[in-house]
């Protein structure tokens, strides 16, 4: 797969159209608003379909009025008709803007992919002739050669060779990893770089068919399935629409009867009934519902997360349990040197000196941390390698150690077994004392690096896990959201417990095997909890498939990506927290706008009821608490307010309302105050203002 490199990935965060009102998108959306006026498009949204039918009806009534046989003055009918059409158009526009933004983002992601030159082998074996072609033209089954220094041109499987690969571009871990044919480490990811040796790789995907490509295409096509909560909400909105349809439709016979009974006035006109109906049905949420959904997926893309479905984003808002890998998520991917532990007879300072020399040219974070520790403890300053006449021995897949050769000294550092081999090769003996030290360090959950000079092992450098800064606060935040965090690690229980306590996670799974992960997820699900997890390895795939929300790292294997329902392009495991927030925002925005929409109706009744029956029962003018000028201006003001509020709320629908992890009750109280009580008050002010404007402009 031709994934982008880290550079383009991080660059893509900024240029994605960030402005809500990019003029190109707006113009396109304006045209789309009219294109969406077809009955087929409209019938997808039941609430707006009622407005659509109402608009058509009043248009006919206007023609009828023009011919002099109308039930209401032509000018009034026209004004109502126009604003009803605007209501429909505004809702279309909201949806079109959201879609336009998503499309623009998808297009950007596509363009951000970088092409890599590939050495395509004529025969699938090392040493065969190759031709240089563009990576994007590689097809499934093609075999390429990647040599030290080359970028891997696409996702594939290693069929020959062993090499150390720098996957830092996507994993953020600078320690190179070993990739070799056969086994679990045979999969390579496009965009990563071979550091040493060579690989022969069989490409596993066709151009444009990669997982990423498919997902971008899906977002672009804007074919969006409604999410479960959206369906449930639509049902509620349809029910409310039917209730209001009943309340207004029966008003005609009631009005006819009242005119008969009171012996005065005119029955309510159909134009006014349609106006009342449109004002009452939840057009605000109905008009913005689909925009909220589209915008939700768009917002995920802004965060460089591609969701395969809105359902997944929505489910993220419901997550109860979060499974997080320790390495790279909770702790820094790299361990840092925390102690020099010499064997008996070797002064610590000597060990530190050797370790520092061996690490001077080692640019990995572990290497840097050794230099830093040596400086902290013994004040060793960095020495110029060239002045010392030293040559650096690079880490290689075969030796699995690095070091330095001075004129008379040969220093190596590496894993215990690698150094043991080295020492024994040099004719030395690997002392039991070192092995004891190694075991002790390992038991503490730290990583031991053995340092050897010539044939003698000097001691051990302890590399410790470092919990990421600020992670504890994020977990506290999650706890307040009601989400339980579980750390997953291959470490033993003691180490896991120590790190879990330091990081502030709620629970941990130590010595985790893929089976144990799967079992843990199933247990939580059986209890009715929704589980989210992140993963990247093939061995994560079963657990990812089982989890309700599964975020695969883009750096991960194809299997992991296929099993997940979201892919994080930045491969940043803490992204889950943002994903949860976005999911919650989507739901909250819908809930808040529903409440707002229904609360609005109270003011609209006060505007329309006295106006509608002004001729039959003038006493009802007591209810005209806003003091609206005339019955016509009252009805028109309500209709105009109803249309304009959709436009006014587009930015909110696209951005989503803010989520603060303050606990469910407080959150509800805040939102009820803002959108419930606000929804009661705002239309009184809005309708009155519009009425004043209409009167001021001489339109009423």
């Amino acid at each position: 797969m031709n994934v982008m490199s880290k550079r383009s990935a991080s660059a893509s965060k900024k240029p994605v159209p960030a402005s809500l009102f990019d003029s190109r998108i707006l113009l396109e959306a304006l045209a789309d608003a009219f294109r969406k006026l077809t009955p087929k498009q409209q019938s997808k949204n039941p609430v707006m379909f009622v407005v659509y039918i109402g608009s058509i009806l009043t248009t006919f009534l206007w023609f009828q009025a023009l011919s002099g046989k109308g039930e209401a003055p032509a000018g009034f009918t026209l004004a109502v008709t126009l604003w009803l059409w605007f209501t429909v158009l505004f809702a279309n526009f909201a949806e079109a803007v959201a879609e336009g933004r998503s499309k623009a983002q998808a297009a950007f992601l596509r363009s951000a992919k970088r092409d890599i030159a590939a050495k395509k082998l004529d025969e699938p074996r090392y040493g065969s002739n190759y031709s240089k072609i563009a990576g994007s033209t590689l097809r499934r089954g093609d075999v390429v050669l990647i040599e030290a220094g080359d970028f891997i041109p696409g996702d594939g499987d290693v069929i020959e060779g062993v090499a150390s690969v720098d996957e830092s571009a996507i994993t953020g871990e600078s320690a190179p990893v070993i990739r070799e044919s056969g086994g679990d480490f045979s999969s390579v990811t496009g965009g990563t770089r071979v550091l040493s040796d060579w690989l022969v790789v069989s490409i596993t995907v066709n151009p444009g068919e990669t997982f990423l490509d498919r997902m971008i295409a899906m977002v672009e096509s804007a074919k969006r399935q409604k999410t479960p909560n959206e369906i449930a909400l639509t049902i509620l909105l349809v029910a409310l629409t039917l209730v209001f349809l009943l309340a207004t439709a029966t008003l005609l016979p009631f009005s006819l009867y009242s005119v008969e009974a009171a012996g005065a006035g005119q029955p309510i006109s159909v134009t006014v009934l349609v106006a009342l109906l449109v004002c009452l049905i939840p057009t605000t949420i109905g008009g913005l519902l689909s925009a909220i959904g589209v915008a939700g997926i768009g917002r995920m893309m802004q965060k460089n997360v591609i969701a395969t479905s809105g359902r997944a984003v929505e489910a993220a808002g419901d997550v109860d349990v979060l499974l997080l890998d320790k390495t790279g998520t909770i702790t820094l991917g790299n361990r840092q040197a925390s102690a020099f532990i010499p064997i008996k007879g070797v002064p610590e300072k000597n060990l530190a000196d050797a370790a520092q020399l061996a690490s001077l040219a080692d640019e990995t974070p572990e290497g840097r941390s050794i230099v830093v520790l040596a400086k902290q403890k013994f004040g060793f300053r960095e020495r110029d390698m060239r002045a010392l006449g030293a040559t650096f021995v690079h880490f290689s897949a075969q030796t699995r150690m690095s070091g330095v050769n001075l004129e008379s000294r040969q220093i190596r550092k590496g894993a215990a077994d690698a150094i043991r081999m080295y020492v024994e090769e040099q004719g030395g003996k690997f002392p039991q004392a070192v092995q004891t030290l190694v075991n002790n360090v390992a038991r503490r959950g730290s990583t031991p690096l053995v340092v050897a000079e010539g044939g003698h092992a000097l001691g051990v450098i302890e590399l410790k896990d470092i919990v990421k800064g600020g992670i504890k606060e994020r977990f506290a935040e999650l706890r307040q959201m009601g989400i339980k965090t579980i750390m997953i690690t291959g470490d033993n229980r003691l180490t896991a417990a120590a790190i879990a306590a330091e990081a502030g996670v709620d629970d941990f799974l130590a010595e985790a095997t893929p089976e144990a992960k799967l079992k843990l997820i199933r247990e939580h699900q059986a209890d009715g909890r929704l589980v989210a997890m992140t993963g990247d390895g093939t061995n994560d795939a079963p657990a990812l498939a089982q989890a309700d929300v599964a975020v695969a790292m883009n750096s991960g294997t194809q299997a992991a990506k296929e099993a997940g329902n979201m892919v994080d392009l930045d491969s940043n495991p803490t992204k889950l927290i943002e994903i949860v927030e976005t999911g919650k925002q989507m739901l909250m925005t819908r809930g808040a706008l529903t409440t707002f929409s229904i609360a609005n109706d109270v003011a609209k009744y006060f505007a329309i009821i006295p106006a509608a029956f002004a001729t039959t029962y003038p006493e009802l003018n007591v209810l005209n608490v806003m003091g609206l000028a005339t019955p016509d201006s009252a009805i028109l003001s309500a209709v105009i307010f109803n249309a304009l509020i959709i436009i006014a709320l587009i930015p909110l629908a696209l951005k989503g309302i803010r989520y603060k992890p303050v606990g469910a009750a407080t959150l509800l109280q805040n939102n009820l105050l803002i959108y419930g009580v606000g929804g009661l008050i705002v239309p009184f002010i809005g309708i009155k203002t519009i009425d004043l404007l209409l009167v001021g402009l001489g339109l009423a």
Binding site: A232, I235, F244, F254, A664
Partner: protein
């Protein structure tokens, strides 16, 4: 309002809430199949019933089976009551030799008593034989109440169970509701009422001489039982002079006890609990009023106890009580304030030692303003519908509140069982919107509320407005509907709206003033009652089935607590908003404009 008025209302509410826990706890034990020591001997009767009926009590039903059993049982009851009415002239226990009831009236009454509505288009003492009253109507009073309780218990089981397909056994729930709850309570109440002077006898009506002859005019009735009209379309009046009176008697106390306890409300006599033989004293009035809301209120506690968190039950009970008390304090003052038109004529409507003051038209002097107005709110907040005063004579606002309480869907206490399951449906809607607002898939008592539940809840919320508004719209459009309206203007409209509000929410209280015993109204209101009852009960059972099959999500800090004042406020808001938004336009053309015209 007088301080005595406050005191009476306070005593009523305190006694009602005080009884909720003991009775609610008892009912929870009954439904959890726990034995209760003093009632242990009833168990043998219970198992005898199961053996006779061929019921295997441990065999559970899916919601569809449960609903089918319910519908079949109710249909059979409906047919039985219809047949009893049609054939009563051939059957025993008919000392007055009352004729067969007309087909349309018999249909209406059979539906009315099967659906726990007890709308009465007929007058009891002039229409129904003792056999019809006891074997037909009284039995249905038990059966329809037990049906409501069974549906509620099935719904509660939906919340308690996880990953199960069944929601209980309808026959067991019916039997236990009747045997352990309704019968013992009715027995106690009937004895108390007899002690207060309510009649209980099979002897025929007594004729006694009047101390003073009375003469009056009334609309002349034709052979069809309809008022005869002159060429102007006005009813023809005839003058009647009366020297003796017939005192209607009958086995009243036994029927009245269950009529109140089962929120049925169908009176033994035509004027219902305004009749001195049904409700003779202030104490009998208090007991009857208390027994209307007793079970509906206590069931809230039962709900809490059964779901394992009594706070949940108290929260719903509190929400109901807040609405109830608020509306009591609209109706009682409206009646106590009296009629400003009369005030302008110089009448004294102030309460004093000599008179209750206020609007006494249509009220019994032994009950006065407070107990008449309080009864009106009680009977319409529960789906009872019995009356001790004529609601048609209430002030516009005083009469609007009972009408609106019915339009709220009979969920403020509501009918036995049906009130609480209706309220739980509202709670689901409230939880749904609230859940979205806190960014989680909504859940109530650990059950996720999803599309299916919303669909069923929507049906349940949609049906009453459809029936009420649709029915009233048809009635005011067709001649058959309009000809029964005797009062002019907005008040006439209120009467039609009230009739459909009552039938469409299975209340059964009548505004009177509307001549409703016509084929048109008997049929329309009969349909309204059928839809309102079963189109609600079946979706509720569907919700129960769907919930029972779900997992229970453990509560966490992200879960919306549903026992807090905030949630109560939200629930109250949902009920009131739906009720207000649906019915404000119609109410504006009825009682609201009538009130504005009166106070102009």
């Amino acid at each position: 309002m007088t301080s005595n008025g406050f005191l009476q209302i306070a005593v009523y509410v305190i006694v009602l809430l005080g009884l909720a826990k003991p009775l609610g706890g008892y009912m929870a034990r009954i439904y959890r199949d726990k034995s209760i020591r003093p009632m242990r001997w009833v168990g043998s009767i219970e198992s005898l019933i199961y053996r006779l009926g061929g019921v295997k009590p441990e065999q559970e039903m899916r919601w569809t089976e449960y609903a089918a059993a319910l519908l079949v049982f109710n249909l059979l009851g409906l047919i039985a009551v219809y047949a009893l009415q049609r054939f009563q002239s051939y059957l025993p226990l008919n000392p007055q030799h009352l004729a067969a009831v007309t087909p349309d009236s018999a249909f209406n009454t059979a539906v009315s008593f099967a659906t726990n509505t007890n709308w009465q288009g007929y007058g009891g003492e002039t229409t129904m034989s003792y056999l019809t009253q006891t074997l037909g109507l009284t039995v249905q009073n038990f059966a329809s109440a037990a049906t409501g309780m069974a549906v509620l218990v099935a719904l509660i089981r939906g919340f308690i169970r996880r990953n199960q397909e069944t929601i209980g056994n309808f026959w067991v729930d019916m039997t236990r509701s009747t045997l352990y709850i309704l019968l013992p309570l009715s027995l106690l109440l009937a004895l108390a009422l007899v002690a207060q002077g309510v009649v209980q006898t099979f002897s025929p009506y007594q004729t006694v001489a009047l101390a003073e002859a009375v003469s009056y005019e009334q609309p002349k009735l034709g052979a069809d039982g309809q008022p005869v009209k002159n060429h102007e379309g006005k009813p023809v009046l005839e003058k009647i002079e009366v020297r003796e009176q017939t005192l209607a008697l009958g086995p009243a106390a036994s029927q009245i006890a269950i009529k109140q306890l089962g929120t049925n409300g169908g009176g033994f006599f035509n004027v219902n609990s305004a009749h001195p033989f049904e409700n003779p004293t202030p104490l009998s009035n208090f007991l009857e009023m208390l027994s209307i809301l007793l079970i509906p209120a206590a069931l809230c506690y039962t709900f809490g106890a059964m779901v394992g968190d009594t706070r949940q039950g108290w929260a719903i009970l509190a929400a109901m009580t807040v609405i109830f008390v608020a509306l009591v304090f609209v109706t009682v003052p409206a009646e106590q304030y009296g009629n400003p038109v009369l005030a302008s004529l110089g009448t004294d409507q102030a309460p004093s030692a000599a008179q209750p003051g206020g609007n006494m038209e249509g009220k019994e002097t032994r009950f006065g303003i407070v107990n008449s107005a309080l009864w009106a709110v009680v009977t319409t907040s529960a789906s009872n519908g019995s009356v001790n005063a004529m609601h048609d004579s209430f002030t516009p606002i005083g009469g609007m509140i009972p009408m609106w309480l019915m339009q709220l869907g009979e969920v403020v206490y509501g009918g036995v069982g049906s009130g609480l399951y209706g309220m739980i449906v509202f709670a689901l809607v409230a939880v749904f919107v609230a859940g979205l607002m806190i960014g989680r898939t909504p859940e109530y008592l650990g059950k996720k509320i999803e599309a299916f539940e919303m669909k069923m809840a929507s049906v349940a919320i949609l049906i009453p407005p459809l029936v009420v508004l649709g029915g009233a719209a048809i009635a005011v459009m067709v001649a058959a509907g309009k000809s029964s309206v005797f009062n002019p203007g907005a008040h006439g409209f209120s009467e039609v709206l009230y009739a459909f509000s009552s039938a469409g929410n299975n209340n059964g209280s009548a505004f009177a003033g509307l001549s409703a015993n016509t084929p048109f109204y008997n049929f329309m209101l009969g349909l309204a009652m059928l839809f309102a009852r079963y189109w609600l009960a079946v979706p509720v059972l569907a919700i129960a089935g769907s919930l029972a099959a779900k997992k229970i999500v453990p509560a966490g800090s992200g879960t919306l607590p549903t026992h807090t004042p905030l949630f109560m406020a939200l629930l109250i808001g949902t009920v009131l908003m739906v009720g207000a938004l649906t019915f404000i336009p119609a109410l504006a053309l009825g009682p609201i404009v009538e009130h504005l015209q009166m106070t102009k």
